[in-house]
């Protein structure tokens, strides 16, 4: 099916080009049939790329190593689930996934826009097809997922060991969904500028895609952080790594956009700002893909450096130039119809939150690209580490959380100091109480964390107060008690109360970040079996070593007993997995198991108060003579003898009391990061879910309303 897939890929490229031209021509000349043909090309593009995905996935499933991408990223020993997800561990497969997701979301957006915003639909389709065309061209000319390999090897290289983790099966599709969904508002913003329809129509058309993208990016970021915490073995979940930052930047501007788009919908203000934010978020999404795929910056997450950098940068520059040119050409139209009526209004807080979020995004952008900037200016590549990022982002994040509590208690348009003071009194009291409690628990040495606790408690108090007040008001209107009125309140105001849940989730997550960073205790120790160390009052004893031989890897580990005041707390089993290199002839039958990749299998015990985290690095030095001896004595050993040697090695590791290096971490409130993330996602889902009114509108539209035609711009 290789040739069929290649032909479909070429057809997809042709469809992208022809569809973009047909859509643009139809829009310029107001020809409905050309606009319809352009839209159909987009839908057909999605179908064709789906065929290509099926062809490549089928090749992975049946381990068809005549596909170069399969031979390079899978093997017969790769578990079935990871064979399917191996597609996006490769450069070529990632690009394919990107185009597939983009064409899917674009089809949804354009199908909806043809009825709701017919003036914008053809231009948006042209822009989306052009972006898809760029990625298809990359695949056809530079990184083809359907490249043949002849002769096909008997087995493949296997999947990168670090990627054999459940989170990694979902993380890339989520991030790429977030990136590709962010391109939809970018396309409609360009369409709005071209057609001079800069009112709220494009906002209403794309708001749900922006929110969907935000949800996907949030899931992707959380899964990436969780993977880092449980798999990478360095003892953290966020390292301000370029690839992490690549996802964070569009998340920040996307969050800002979700707030300011609401202001434009309700007030007609911030037109130019919203267009800039939508375009900026789309460009940052492209930049994020560039950072992940180009290898231009060193990253712990970069699994494939490539030569795609130059075309990527050229394309991003082209998109930026188009955005800037259109903004300049239409600046007369971007004046707001309404002004800010009160500094104590919700839109004023939204504006402030936008300033903070965009400020954070600019900061992260500067820090991420600083190595390239410093190299260009001084010839010396300097990097900015986590302390630099924390110095600026922690105060900004604290202000942001405080604003996320202030916004909900203020009204749209109007506000007075008296009402504002009354609405903030209870949340402020709750925040003060939390700070007093934290001080009593000995948190006085970390003022930044204390400030964040205050802000988060204020936000949580404000959200709780809003739910209670709203439910009480709804109860009074419907004659129900407030708990019974709560579901109806949320159902009638999904965006508002879903948004409040997001605020609560972010506050909870940031409390987890602050506590687990400021009050974390780390101990690195080299222990023999039977020896113990202590960390934050916990006694950690290395009980015994463990070793198992699997089909794919050799696992050497330890059993660790954790006690506090003599009482058993947990038994942890950290280990390290060793994956062999593919070529035994070059490395030695036994030595090849220690010359390939190795991964840390973190042992984790988690509850609402703390995470107990342990990783182990076995000391292999004493084994070196045994490994070399066996490889020298049996230079012609075949594959059938390998398990025998490995079992002997494992047995010796279990019985011989060798030292091992441990990293033990006690991190308070780490689980709050994930819990907060889940609350925020729940809030996002509530806000995204169609309300009764929207469902009724959708029902009306399901009756065959003829598609209106876009007039010439």
């Amino acid at each position: 099916m290789l040739d069929f897939g290649r032909a479909c890929l070429l057809l997809a490229l042709a469809l992208a080009g022809a569809g973009a031209v047909a859509s643009a021509y139809g829009a310029v000349r107001a020809r409905a049939h050309w606009q319809a043909a352009g839209a159909r090309a987009l839908f057909a593009l999605f179908a064709t790329v789906t065929l290509v995905v099926i062809v490549v996935e089928a090749a992975f499933a049946r381990s068809d190593f005549s596909f170069r991408v399969v031979a390079g990223h899978s093997s017969t020993a790769t578990p079935a689930l990871y064979k399917l997800t191996a597609l996006w561990s490769s450069q070529e497969g990632s690009l394919l996934l990107w185009v597939w997701l983009l064409s899917g979301w674009s089809s949804l957006a354009v199908a909806s826009a043809r009825r709701r915003t017919p003036v914008l639909a053809p231009w948006a389709a042209a822009a989306l097809l052009a972006v898809a065309g760029f990625f298809l061209a990359l695949m056809v000319f530079l990184a083809n997922p359907l490249e043949p390999l002849a002769p096909a090897p008997a087995d493949g290289s296997g999947l990168q060991p670090l990627l054999r983790h459940p989170a990694m099966a979902i993380h890339p599709p989520m991030l790429y969904s977030g990136y590709t969904l962010a391109v939809v508002p970018l396309a409609f913003a360009l369409a709005a500028l071209v057609t001079k329809r800069v009112d709220a129509a494009w906002v209403r058309q794309t708001r749900r895609f922006a929110l969907g993208g935000w949800i996907c990016l949030t899931i992707g970021i959380l899964l990436g952080a969780r993977w880092s915490w449980t798999e990478l073995g360095w003892g953290g979940y966020w390292a301000w790594d370029p690839v992490e930052n690549a996802a964070l930047m569009p998340w920040l501007t996307g969050t800002a956009a979700l707030h300011s788009l609401t202001v434009q919908e309700k007030r007609g203000t911030l037109k130019g700002w919203n267009l800039s934010l939508a375009m900026g978020t789309g460009v940052l999404a492209l930049l994020g893909t560039f950072l992940v795929r180009s290898g231009v910056l060193q990253s712990i997450h970069a699994f494939g450096a490539s030569t795609l950098g130059v075309p990527f940068l050229a394309f991003i520059a082209l998109v930026l130039a188009a955005c800037a040119g259109l903004m300049l050409a239409r600046q007369q139209l971007l004046r707001s119809e309404a002004r800010l009526e009160s500094l104590l209004s919700r839109e004023a807080v939204f504006l402030l939150n936008n300033v903070v979020l965009v400020g954070m995004a600019v900061l992260v952008l500067w820090g991420t690209f600083f190595p390239l900037i410093s190299e260009a200016l001084s010839g010396h590549r300097a990097t900015l580490g986590p302390p630099w990022f924390a110095r600026y982002t922690v105060p900004l994040a604290t202000v942001l959380v405080l604003l996320s509590g202030l916004g909900p208690v203020l009204a749209w348009r109007r506000g007075s100091l008296r009402v504002g003071a009354r609405s903030t009194a209870r949340p402020a009291l709750a925040a003060a109480a939390v700070v007093a409690l934290a001080l009593a628990l000995g948190a006085g040495g970390a003022p930044h964390a204390l400030a964040l606790f205050f802000a988060a408690a204020f936000a949580l108090g404000a959200v709780a107060q809003e739910y209670w007040r709203g439910a009480r008001a709804r109860g009074a209107a419907t004659g129900r008690r407030w708990p019974a009125a709560l579901p109806g309140l949320v159902a009638r105001n999904r965006r508002r109360y879903g948004g409040y849940l997001v605020h609560a989730g972010v506050a909870v997550a940031l409390v987890g970040v602050a506590a687990s960073s400021a009050f974390q205790h780390v101990r690195d120790a080299r222990l023999h079996p039977g020896q113990a160390t202590s960390v934050d009052g916990y006694d950690v004893r290395y009980v015994r070593s463990t070793a198992t031989v699997g089909r794919e890897k050799l696992v050497l580990g330890a059993v660790v007993d954790v006690r506090r005041d003599g009482r058993h707390v947990a038994t942890l089993r950290p280990s390290r997995g060793y994956y062999p290199v593919a070529d035994p002839a070059g490395a030695g039958t036994l030595a090849r198991w220690f010359k390939g990749e190795s991964t840390s299998e973190v042992a984790l015990r988690s509850n609402a108060r703390w995470d107990l985290w342990a990783a182990v690095e076995p000391d292999l030095q004493p084994f070196q003579s045994m490994i070399d001896g066996i490889d020298q004595r049996f230079p012609l050993a075949d594959a059938s003898m390998e398990p025998l040697f490995l079992r002997a090695l494992a047995e010796r590791y279990r019985l011989q009391p060798l030292p091992a290096s441990f990293r033990i971490i006690v991190a308070p409130l780490t689980s709050w990061v994930w819990t907060g993330g889940l609350i925020a996602l729940l809030g996002g889902a509530v806000a995204l879910w169609p309300s009764g009114a929207l469902a009724a509108v959708a029902l009306r539209r399901r009756s065959r309303v003829p598609v209106p035609v876009a007039k010439a711009a």
Binding site: F4, H33, A37, V119, E265, A411, W412, R414, V419, P706
Partner: protein, 85 residues
């Protein structure tokens, strides 16, 4: 087989995309849906203000003034929607 399959895909895609070009539809004079959505948004703003007042974010006087302003905007938007923008 692969060639035949691809030709079938090509044929289907070509026929489907070119269908509107072969039979151009007559454009109906439908009102701009954006105007109707604008009116709906104004009505939602009236409801939002009611909720803000009910939850103590607006005094009665502030709500009265804002409500009058929002209703005037909503009526204006509804009129425009009725007249097709």
């Amino acid at each position: 087989v692969e060639l035949a399959l691809f030709l079938l895909v090509l044929l289907l895609v070509g026929a489907w995309i070119s269908a509107p070009l072969r039979r151009p539809p007559t454009p109906p004079a439908a009102p701009d849906p954006g105007v109707r959505e604008e009116a709906e948004a104004r009505l939602v703003a009236v409801r939002d203000a009611e909720l803000d007042a009910a939850t103590g974010k607006l005094t009665a006087a502030e709500h009265r003034a804002l409500d009058a302003q929002l209703r005037a905007e909503a009526i204006d938007a509804l009129r425009r929607a009725e007249h097709g923008g």
